[in-house]
Symmetry: C2
Subunit: 367 residues, 2 copies
């Protein structure tokens, strides 16, 4: 949950090319024409002619090569996240061309299998013993201790950037900095397309996934499960409400007139989740990102039991706090200094590397 | 980093007995007379006579029994934290008495051994393939995939409480609820003593650890490393500024008059950290907790690279946001509705179980 490693895939999605991207899984994100699983991808491509088919075949062969770990050599470690037991490395194949990106992540314990874990098949080695406490390392049977592996091959510079750890900075955005730098960046819309949002709002995509819909042009919203949520368990419930109106990009655009919209999302959104999933309002964290990952106003609903992405201060603002602030001052978000955490190489004009390149490119003073 | 499992050890320190506790490791906290590791505990106990020696022997036998997983049976799962791949369970031994508490946690990858991980010894099973992406499960050689195990045996109710997940609720504290319930609770001071804070402020404790001191009675503060920070590396830098004045319990007490205090902490605190540790201001997350873990106003300084405890919305407020809010409205924090996450069994009067017991104990209306 480190600030610097939050949601890189999601962010990149929209920065690279959002028009074709609606998922946070790399495979769905970047290969929209080929949405099938392993078995079906070949046949799906047949409709696109022989070049596509040929490409798919080559990709499958490249993957098969990269999945043979006996033929790979480590080039460098891209990132190592102790907190969630994951690591990303660049590797190369001994004979095949193309760079290989490997992301390895240990799997959470499956509580259904705990009696197999705590059984004679697990060997313990004691490290220390003190009073009633002792510490050991355990060698678990392999099938109970799987690792999840993502392979990207051939991988491009953009893939490596996504998995590489980048330093972050805290940016203090005054209302002036917002007006001069941030707003033009957001308005330019150059960073990504919002078509996938409009598809959801218009019902042409994900219509079967909609939990609740209120079509009011001013206070309406569509509530959908977030793509990160598998929907399999309620402990990691994660949904988002996307507002119908298209004139609110971020909390910077909010004023007192939007209070009915915000209260509507809070009240009907939590009610819909309680009705559909039985998760009560006080068990939810309801919040807004600033900066958001896309610039169409939306609200996140996450179970308190779920360590959802980007809930830390410097990114997340509780919807109830936003409402309370606007109740006190209708113009607070246009006047406030808002601080947020940005990767140094983020394209936002207030990100550290953007600032520095701007400073460097400004004309030297004439002496 | 789940909301529900934040900082229990720290809280316990101050709630139970702040005078003798400086560590969050269970063995040091609860077994102060027996600080040795496995090998040395026996001999250390010899000086305390045969009863102690006998006890130690019994403890060692109990541990040896519990470490034989073939003799254990699972009673229940206490908590399962997917995010860091850990699980806590209660077990019982087939023949030995006493309840067993097991905490299992997968180990982070050791980057030194990555070339062993990516080798012929690791077998992959493909789950899906799509374009350049593929997803697999990997069976790693056992010695590269260790699990860390903590055993507590015999374990008491207090041990189980510590590892048991307690549900949390989001509490919306209006200014009225604050005045009626929260303020009296805070003012009663019954929950814990603040003597350890006054010791730091007066220089009678931790004087050698002080990073910066400003004794001004209105705007002064003492900056010290947080006890959670080992000080060994800057990536998890974690300090706190404790204000000199004793009349501010929480952000609820702040008004426009406190702006010089807050700006002083922001400016001189970050300057002191940059001078002592070389970590620049924009690499820090500077924030306040509400609810805090103790009711004397203090500010946290954490490296952005550190996933510090309680940085999530519903607990953490960026100091820069607090300053900006007070600049806009001097009375905003006394008027605001503030939401926060509370464990259901927290002693705060707005915690779910307190509310329910209050509701249950209020006299029934006379019909």
């Amino acid at each position: 949950n480190s600030a610097c490693t939050q949601e890189p895939p999601r962010k990149k999605i929209h920065l690279d090319d959002a028009s074709k991207e609606t998922s946070s899984s790399p495979s769905k994100e970047e290969a929209p024409e080929n949405n099938g699983s392993c078995g079906s991808s070949g046949s799906a491509n047949k409709f696109n002619g022989s070049t596509k088919e040929q490409e798919a075949k080559e990709n499958e062969q490249a993957t098969a090569a990269a999945a043979d770990f006996s033929q790979l050599e480590i080039v460098r470690v891209l990132s190592n996240t102790d907190a969630n037991c994951s690591v990303a490395v660049e590797a190369k194949h001994k004979t095949e061309d193309g760079r290989v990106l490997l992301h390895l992540q240990k799997s959470p314990f499956n509580v259904e299998l705990m009696s197999e874990v705590v059984s004679g098949g697990t060997r313990l080695r004691q490290l220390l013993h003190n009073d009633v406490y002792s510490k050991h390392t355990a060698a678990l049977p392999v099938h109970l201790n799987e690792v999840s592996v993502t392979i990207i091959h051939p991988a491009t510079d953009k893939h490596f950037e996504r998995y590489e750890r980048e330093l972050c900075s805290m940016v203090e955005e005054t209302s002036e900095l917002y007006a001069i730098h941030s707003k033009p960046f957001i308005d330019s819309g150059s960073s990504f397309s919002k078509q996938w949002i409009y598809n959801i709002l218009e019902g042409s995509s994900e219509a079967d996934r909609v939990i609740f819909r209120d079509d009011d042009p001013l206070t309406g919203f569509v509530l959908v499960p977030d793509l990160k949520w598998t929907g399999l368990q309620l402990t990691d419930l994660y949904c988002q409400a996307i507002v119908v109106r298209r004139d609110v990009s971020t909390i910077r655009d909010l004023n007192g007139d939007h209070l009915p919209l915000l209260r509507n999302i809070r009240d009907l959104g939590t009610k819909a989740i309680e009705e559909k999933y039985g998760v009560e309002r006080h068990r939810l964290r309801v919040y807004v990102h600033y900066l958001p990952s896309y610039y169409h106003f939306h609200v996140h609903f996450a179970a308190l039991t779920y360590d959802a992405p980007g809930t830390w201060c410097g990114r997340a603002h509780l919807l109830s706090d936003v409402i309370s602030n606007l109740e006190q001052s209708h113009v607070c978000y246009s006047r406030a200094t808002l601080s947020f955490v940005l990767k140094d190489n983020h394209p936002h004009p207030l990100a550290l590397k953007q600032q520095r390149s701007r400073d460097a490119s400004s004309p030297s003073p004439v002496v």
